[in-house]
């Protein structure tokens, strides 16, 4: 294992906490040899996919994934330290999904996400500073400290939230896709949601309209296999989510979400359908969150063995190993990237710490764009 794949102290601490709060410690249900074989096969597939990418592109994908990983580790620390309030849903384990999909779109394309969106915001180009400051509830945050962890927005970068009612963003994204087609642009919309959102009516209503009206929306189901503490098997009669697209005659793909390049390739195909023919796509991207549902999740609904099984397929480790073995980069290059990313995250924490709280007057701003003052005649 390469140096940067060693678990950082903060992640180790978090794992310890999970264990003490009840993750079941049972022997792996899968033979370690089989796990290694599976990982090696995944690596071989990834190596094949690497051929279509320039060195700079590959490095940038890695940089974004490691940035998200380090940012989220730091978020967990800050949460435990009491600097971040409320809910805090981390993206650790799912980095390849955000980075792979967003690498396939243009700057003016739209992204709408659920409440697990820090990593997606980073991938869309929002600064670590503006996101960390938002988590800290500071005036310099991307939503002026009014949205917090679940409501990150940046209009200039086409990042349209951060929505915290499960599935609520799916009709909204269908609407931005409607608007871009109405306006005659070639923009596409990426809409992210967890697999549990698929059980909401909003998902089905949206997919029906998107296919009926041919809207350029790509529905990205990040299937991390748990809706909070409820496993997919306990919540869905047909758990093969990509098949649900059949009900709407929509194109769909099942994608390995631990392979950033597989994610990217599938998204490229979907984006092409959307730009050329205004056709939507449903991508089921199978992934896994290494942390709890949120920072307050004891995690006693899944086994340590299961978590370890997926950690063997860690998307960041997989990609760094591929890059090293294919000699795209050497260890020093990866170390340098990691060093810079750590500095970037440290800087974001300092910035957030030092930033002012929102002024008390902000309580009553941004309620109406055209406020009606009392007594106006």
């Amino acid at each position: 294992m390469s140096k940067q794949t060693a678990a950082p102290p903060s992640a180790a601490k978090a794992e310890e906490q999970q264990s003490s709060t009840g993750v079941m410690d049972v022997p792996p249900d899968v033979d370690p040899k089989l796990l290694k074989q599976e990982r090696d096969e995944a690596k071989e597939r990834q190596k094949d996919r690497l051929r279509g990418l320039s060195r700079d592109q590959s490095i940038e994908l890695y940089r974004q994934m490691i940035l998200i990983r380090r940012f989220e580790e730091k978020s967990a620390e800050a949460y435990v330290a009491g600097k971040i309030g409320g809910f805090c849903h981390l993206y650790i384990g799912q980095e390849a999904v955000g980075v792979g999909t967003i690498s396939a779109i243009k700057k003016d394309d739209y992204v709408l996400a659920s409440y697990r969106e820090h990593g997606l915001a980073l991938a869309k180009g929002m600064t670590a500073r503006s996101i960390m400051a938002e988590l800290f509830g500071k005036a310099t945050g991307c939503s002026k400290g009014k949205g917090g962890s679940m409501h990150m927005f940046d209009k200039s970068l086409g990042f349209l939230g951060g929505h915290a009612i499960v599935g609520g963003q799916i009709p909204l994204a269908t609407g931005t896709a409607f608007a871009t087609k109405y306006q005659g642009t070639d923009q596409v919309t990426l809409c992210y949601f967890g697999e549990a959102a698929v059980n909401q009516g909003a998902f089905h209503e949206s997919l029906n309209m998107a296919q009926l009206w041919k809207l350029p929306c790509i529905y990205i189901c990040e299937n991390n296999q748990y809706g909070m503490g409820t496993s997919l098997a306990r919540a869905m009669s047909l758990s093969d989510i990509s098949k649900k697209a059949c009900a709407y005659e929509m194109a769909a793909e099942f994608v390995d979400g631990m392979d950033v390049l597989a994610v990217r390739e599938a998204t490229v195909r979907a984006v092409e359908r959307a730009r050329k023919d205004y056709l939507p796509t449903l991508l089921e991207i199978r992934t896994y969150r290494f942390m709890g549902h949120s920072m307050s999740d004891p995690g006693n609904y899944r086994t340590r063995a299961e978590i370890e099984k997926y950690q063997e397929r860690d998307p960041v480790k997989l990609f760094s190993a591929t890059l090293l073995e294919e000699k795209i980069v050497d260890q020093k290059t990866l170390d340098d990237i990691d060093h810079k990313v750590r500095e970037e995250v440290e800087d974001a924490v300092r910035f957030a710490d030092e930033s002012p709280l929102p002024d008390a007057s902000e309580l009553y701003t941004d309620i109406y764009a055209s406020p009606i003052e009392p007594g106006r005649k």
Partner: protein, 327 residues
């Protein structure tokens, strides 16, 4: 000025605003080919085509949310609910998305959208199709709620709502579509949101009435005039934000108030108006504020029971006489 129905006035407002701004589009169930379930959108498909006037599937949560998303990306949607009863399915998008987007995005995303359609009591359609739910929407900061009672108000307020930069819930009274009145034909005619209208001036008792209760209150005021009681009838027209100043001015003059509404009394707009009057003009009151509300029951089907559930002229007359200590 031409005399037209509320239905025609709304149709004119939609036509003029669709013609005025390419970003405005209209969507909802049966709004296009069918010409609208209540014919408010008659002829608009023919005039503006299927890109601007869009029939939706029966999928209220979906198309309400689609509208909010379209507004985030620069359009100005008008979303018709065939009736506001069906908007209940869409409340997540109206409340959690439309009302809160500007605030939780730190001022980045305002939502210029109109949710409109008939609401309030209808004729003998029982409990699920006959109810006034304006207090639900008026509860939430971030939404504006408008309820016109005349053809001129309907046209002028709808045009303002479409031009407004915030989400507006625009509730047309289902029984009132055929009501007639004079309406200016100037395409620039608008009525500002948030401004109450004194529908009748008087000196003895203030009646605050909205939507269906405005014509009922005006009839009651006619009767009371013959009994020697001069009533001032105020129509807030916009429920949120409420033009409380106009109401308070009137209370200071008359010192007695009746609030008439067809909605349920509990946690209603009348309760809010009453509380505001108590807080701002308690010392001016010569009698407790009296509410006349719809019965606190689901709407029944039978004609006699339905009549009992909706306030009428007699109940308003009795309430006015009560606050004037005449009986």
């Amino acid at each position: 000025m031409p005399t037209i129905t509320i239905r025609e006035a709304l149709n004119q407002a939609l036509r003029e605003e669709l013609a005025r701004d390419e970003k405005v589009f209209l969507m909802g169930e049966e709004v296009a080919q069918y010409d609208g379930a209540y014919k408010v959108t008659k002829g608009l498909l023919h005039e503006f085509g299927p890109k601007r006037v869009i029939d939706t599937p029966i999928t209220e949560l979906g198309f309400a949310g689609l509208g909010v998303g379209a507004a985030m990306a620069g359009l100005r949607p008008i979303v018709e609910f065939m009736t506001f009863n069906f908007s209940i399915l869409a409340t997540d998008q109206i409340i959690n998305s439309a009302a809160k987007m500007l605030y939780m995005s730190g001022g980045q995303f305002n939502i210029p959208i109109v949710f409109r359609g008939p609401g309030g009591s209808a004729f003998q359609v029982s409990s699920q199709h006959s109810q006034a739910i304006e207090s639900w929407y008026a509860y939430f900061p971030g939404i504006k709620v408008v309820m016109p009672s005349t053809p001129a108000d309907a046209k002028g307020l709808l045009k303002s709502a479409i031009r407004d930069n915030d989400p507006v819930v625009f509730i047309e009274q289902e029984r009132m579509y055929g009501n007639k009145g004079e309406v200016p034909d100037d395409p620039d005619f608008t009525i500002p949101l948030g401004v109450a209208d004194v529908k009748r001036e008087g000196t003895d008792v203030t009646i605050v009435a909205r939507s269906l209760m405005v014509p009922v209150a005006l009839k009651a005021a006619d009767q009371l005039q013959q009994q020697g009681v001069s009533c001032e009838v105020i129509d807030p027209r916009t429920i949120r934000p409420l033009d409380i100043d106009t109401i308070i001015e009137s209370v200071k003059k008359t010192n007695r108030v009746v609030v008439a509404e067809e909605s349920h009394p509990v946690c209603g707009v009348g309760a809010e108006i009453t509380a505001e009057i108590m807080e701002r003009a308690f010392d001016y009151l010569d009698a407790p504020v009296k509410r006349v509300s719809g019965a606190d029951v689901p709407m029944p089907y039978a004609k006699n029971l339905e009549d009992l559930a909706i306030p009428d002229v007699n109940r308003i007359v009795a309430a006015v006489r009560e606050v004037a200590y005449l009986d």
